[in-house]
Symmetry: D2
Subunit: 137 residues, 4 copies
Amino acid sequence: MVSHEIPIRVRYADTDQMGVVYHSRYFEWFEWGRVELMRKLGIPYKTLEEQGVFMPVIEAYCRYRLPARYDDELKVKVMIRECPQAKLKVEYLILKDGGLVGEGYTVHAFLNRQGSPRRPPKNFVTILKKALANAQV
Amino acid sequence: MVSHEIPIRVRYADTDQMGVVYHSRYFEWFEWGRVELMRKLGIPYKTLEEQGVFMPVIEAYCRYRLPARYDDELKVKVMIRECPQAKLKVEYLILKDGGLVGEGYTVHAFLNRQGSPRRPPKNFVTILKKALANAQV
Amino acid sequence: MVSHEIPIRVRYADTDQMGVVYHSRYFEWFEWGRVELMRKLGIPYKTLEEQGVFMPVIEAYCRYRLPARYDDELKVKVMIRECPQAKLKVEYLILKDGGLVGEGYTVHAFLNRQGSPRRPPKNFVTILKKALANAQV
Amino acid sequence: MVSHEIPIRVRYADTDQMGVVYHSRYFEWFEWGRVELMRKLGIPYKTLEEQGVFMPVIEAYCRYRLPARYDDELKVKVMIRECPQAKLKVEYLILKDGGLVGEGYTVHAFLNRQGSPRRPPKNFVTILKKALANAQV
């Protein structure tokens, strides 16, 4: 498993009138974490798009466990467990003081500029395989 | 199954630089449809909150099948298949010209003003049971 | 002045923990109204983009007068008073039961596909001039 | 003038199909910066709300000068120039590599829990006056 953690501060715009974070915002935070994990691995998502590789979300899931509130300092932990064949699965935990606020996953396709499916780029696979192997040691 | 359909127009704010709707927006559309189904049943969500019943999302899932694009006219179809015990499951289809753009579900808890679990309100259950029974005829 | 009015229903996603609509949402509603006024005039914004005309917002202003709350039924009134030279100004009122919830404006540039300034398209100017002339009668 | 600067990374969710940041997002970034300036001054906004002081936005303005793009690293500079009487004005610059991406302001009222206007809290005024005086030296 390769993983990365980023801090998140809950903003007013994230809250709803129940006084907690509106549920769809978690999926934006998942994106923040995912992008930073890819940057850390050395395959920034922006570079992939410049090379003609697009990774749209084709599945998204979240389980909400504890309320996240205004001004909370959260952590998003992002994990990849397996090298993608046709699709990439990314998993997420949202943490507050060690407590589990939410958990979920997204699944991504690999598309070319025309929007047709393509294989994950070679360097992506190579880097991820190596990182997964190192992580197992 | 009780169901309801509402029209949605894709707005510029919904799109991202891939030229499609950003995935987290679907969950907002799910909310729009869910609220209108409840209004149609005669149990507007706003009234529930005024009576001290809160129904936060505790699970959310979406599968993205076809891209939704700027200015598209979509339909959100909302379905409830079962009367809630402790939780309510609501299902959704996003449709474009009959094609399936996306599908998903949300699961809701019932909380009181203090944020503790409570039973679904009686009139909610009564109305929903009756509607489900009528729908089966 | 040419104008158009559309209905808006306040959604849960629009609210914040103050129990009112988060202020940046008004700018999305402005967009909804603006796009529908253009459609009514016969110059849908989507068609403009297909023809290589982009109209990014270069200024945006809103004055918030009355709180908008969950499930409120609002109206967005959109107004254009003048034919654009280099820029188009669009004005907005947000209304609730006749009361003024908010008012604002946006200013738009005209850009080509390369992102350089260009003149407003001829048919846009022709149609708008005619509509403004008819409105004055 | 008291001021503060925070870094912002442009996220995919922020972009629209023009390939730039959708304009209403700037107002969320303004909020992020404003809240961090208040925290730095020693008057966190969350604490104000806990003490029954609410500061809704009653005016918001932004001028967009340069496009902000996906993955850009921006800075939000927040400035307060004057101690509030009935209203607080906060100004903002959005910067990219020293270039001016956008600039704007928000105006805030001071309300009590009932939503009625109230004076700015004494400690808020005291702290801000002192910070403004120190900044002038």
